[in-house]
Structures are given as C-alpha cells and as structure tokens.
Symmetry: C2
C-alpha cells in the first residue's frame, strides 16, 4: 500500500497521512494539538491529547519542583510528566532559564495585592507576610530567584510589578526617595519572604552516625551549645522542638520596619 494523503493545514486544520512502513492505518495530524491516532475501522474512538501550552508546561514544572525541589527539575522529567518528548517543550519556552523565569512569575503572581486602606507599615507587613506564605508553598522559589539574580537576569514582570507597588507604598507613607532606596536595600530579599537563615532546623533529622558527641560539641562550640539548649528548653512546653520560624521572621521584619520608621521621623 503506498497511499499518502496530504491536506494543507491552512484549509482544513489537519494533515492526513498513512505512514509508509506502518500498519496501514490512516493518521491525522491536527495543526495545534500534536499527533492523534485515528482508527480507520468504524467505531474505534480517537484518543486526543490535551494540547501543550506554556501554562501546562509551567504548572507541570512547578508541581515537579514543589514535590522534589529544584534539583528534581529537568526538561526531560517535565516532558515525561506531560507524556511528551523533551524537545516538544522548546516550542513553549526558549530554554531552561526562560522556564525558570516563567515559574518565578507564576508564583510571585500568587502574592496578595496590596491592601489600600491602611498605613504604610501595615500594608508592607501584610504583603511581606503574604509573600512568605507563598514561599512556604513553593520552597524552591527562594533559590531559583537568587540564582536568576546572580545570573544578572532582568527581574521578571511579576517581580517588577511587586517591587514597584512596594516602593509606591513607602512613597505614599511619606518616605523620601533616598530613604526608600535605602529601605529596599535593608529589606532586601526579605521583601519576598526569604528568611535568610544560617541554620536549618536539625531536630527532625535522622541522628547522624558520625555526628559529634554532645560533650565534644559543648567543648568546641560552647556558645552554640548554650543557645541550642536554651531554645530546646523554652520549646519543651510547646509541641515539637526547634524554634518558631514564623515568630523569628516577624521579629526580624518588625525590627527592620521599626528602624525604618524611626529614620523617616528624623530625615
């Protein structure tokens, strides 16, 4: 059998053909939706695939990163998740960096819009805490944003919009343009809810077989040990152990905002 039927997509939206060395079945290639196999015998149903789009690619990527972190994210795995060949993704994102930028844009877009009817301090505080809630949903976002900044990439539109409205809140609150500039530097990535820890909580981890013995720990790092014991003790009444990240974040945020308020008064 050597029949081939080509119909131009411009007229029909489909290309129909019978592959040369195949099983002789008629296949149809819709213009926008990838290949669909159609049975030539009557009654056999077509099994169409959801069309790929930038949104589908991004949400698959975000789901993958939410689950396994940014290390588990690869073009090949995203493609596999979508039941598609890796190269198909490159129709919708130019490369992996553009994919990362798209992911950042999507999650920064989840941050609540600014509340219009409060003072600057409350407005900033609420917004930053909303950003932090977003970041807890998407723990990978922190390092992705940082890596993109380090690569000296232009901030994505959603980040630009976020920063613009934050600057606007400071300005409306009576901050001089110079002080707003300093304020943005002081708040830094905390604006996006980053908590910038130097320690991670280790209490929920498997006991490390070659970890240091407690008495050696106390001898080498007496002040760290004192602090760790105090934190552990103060948390004994509360459920779990380790310190309250949310409290520490708000403590640092408020210390910063209070400092800025004081500066505004004297400038």
């Amino acid at each position: 059998m050597d029949v081939r039927v080509y119909l131009s997509w411009e007229w029909t939206g489909w290309t129909l053909y019978i592959p040369p060395g195949g099983d002789g079945r008629l296949r149809a290639l819709p213009v926008r939706e990838g290949m669909v196999e159609m049975a030539t015998q009557a009654g056999a149903a077509a099994k169409p695939r959801a069309p790929l789009s930038k949104e589908r690619v991004l949400s698959a990527a975000i789901a993958l990163a939410d689950e396994g972190g940014v290390d588990a994210l690869s073009m090949r795995k995203i493609a596999q998740m979508l039941g598609v060949v890796p190269m198909a993704l490159y129709k919708h994102v130019a490369n992996k960096n553009e994919l990362l930028d798209g992911m950042i844009d999507a999650v920064v877009g989840e941050i609540d819009p600014p509340a219009g009817d409060t003072d600057w301090k409350t407005a900033i505080r609420r917004r930053v805490l909303s950003a932090r809630r977003m970041l807890l949903r998407h723990p990978w976002a922190c390092e992705v944003v940082e890596s993109r900044i380090k690569a000296r990439a232009m901030p994505t539109p959603a980040v630009m919009e976020y920063l613009d409205s934050m600057i606007g809140i400071f300005r409306a609150g009576g901050f001089s343009i110079d002080l707003v500039h300093h304020a943005m530097h002081v708040m830094g990535s905390r604006l996006l809810g980053f908590s910038q820890e130097l320690f991670e909580d280790t209490s929920d981890r498997e006991p490390d077989p070659d970890a240091m013995a407690p008495q050696e720990m106390a001898a080498r790092y007496p002040h760290v040990t004192e602090l760790a014991m105090a934190v552990a003790h103060s948390q004994e009444s509360v459920v779990g152990s380790g310190c309250d990240d949310q409290f520490e974040f708000e403590f640092a945020l408020d210390l910063t905002l209070d400092g800025l308020e004081r500066l505004r008064g004297t400038t």
Copy 2:
C-alpha cells in the same frame, strides 16, 4: 621483552615494572605520589608530579570558582586543571558535596578573628565587614553556602566556629540568651556578609536589544523608574553609576545593630 619487577611498597615504598606492550622503559610507582616515569638510560631526569592532596584539590576548586563561578566548577575540570584523571580526586574528597563543604571551610577561615578589646557592637561590625570582604573575593561562596543549607547539611566546622564566636560576642555584650537567639535570626546570612539584594546593578551590562523602551518602563513601573532616576542622578557627580553597595550594606547592618542595641536596653 617480558621482564616485570614487582617490589612490595611495604618494604621499598615503590613498585617497579616494565609495561608489557610499551616502549620497554622501566617505570616506578611510588606508593603515595602517583605514577612517575623514570628513564632507564643514565642522565635522563625523572619528572615527578606534585603529589595530590586535599589542599591542592580544594585550592584548584576555589581558583576555578573564583574565575568562572560555581557553574564552571566540575570534578572533571578540577582534575584537568591538576593534570589528573577525574577519579583521582575521589581519593581526597568523598564526593562533590564534601568538596563544596571543604571550599566553604577554607574561605570562612579567611575571615579575620574577632577583635578582643572593643565593645560588642564594634566587634560584630568589624567581623561582619571582614566576612563581606571575603565574600567579595569569593562571590560563589554565597550561593554554595545557601545551597548546602538548603540541602540541610550540617554547617562545616569553620562556620560553626564563626557562629560560636559571634554568639560569644553578643553574650559578653550583655545580651540575654533569648535575645541572642533572635539576634542571630535577625542578622541571618548577613552575618557572613551576604547582601541579599533583590536587584543586581544593571548599569554595566550590554544594552539588551529587546529591553523595554524607557517610556513604557516609566508607564508600567512608575515607582521603580522614579527610584532608578533618583539613584542615577545622585551618582552623576561620583565616578561610575549605580548605587554604592558598600554604603547600602553598612546602612542595613547599622540599622540592624542599632535595633538590637535598643532591644537589649529594654529587655
């Protein structure tokens, strides 16, 4: 020629042999220093190779990262730099993570020791500014430390020592253990000189062909534009453009230290 001479390393420190299909030259394998080729004819000098060590591996890795960033760092490139096969590195570091930890340890060790004869605020301030100078020499250190924290790795000994002495300075300055705990969270990775920017200076970059037109920029992001113009203007008298990173870092550091000092007074 089918002569092979094997001498046990336990007695001589060397293994001598003539490879079967080779040029017939006698070779010597020293126990600790890798293979050295020795000429059999008199007068020809041996050409020994500097023995590999953890220090040599680490300094090659640091040099590579200083030059091309952490993305340019790979086990294979380090090996190439040292004139060695990649697998030879695994004698001195168990894997890449241990290599990264070793690199962190080495550069954190470059931070000046604490000054003993000043008040807590000056001592912390000097030390943090020394950490920042280290970080400017090794810009990759920031992201490597962060990635290791995110991987929930135990801080390396040099980092532990650094944190311990910082806590000690606060304690000696009259801070309660609880307030020290909060202070460490407030200062976060700024303790290591991280500046935590959300913007990178873009003034020295090639003009992006598909960048936004200035008027569109001003329309979409009015507050960002106002701030950018103000910064550019205030810097016109000074050499170069963009803002003074060092000033902004110290501004944020001092605002934080002042806030902590005030809290110490009332707690």
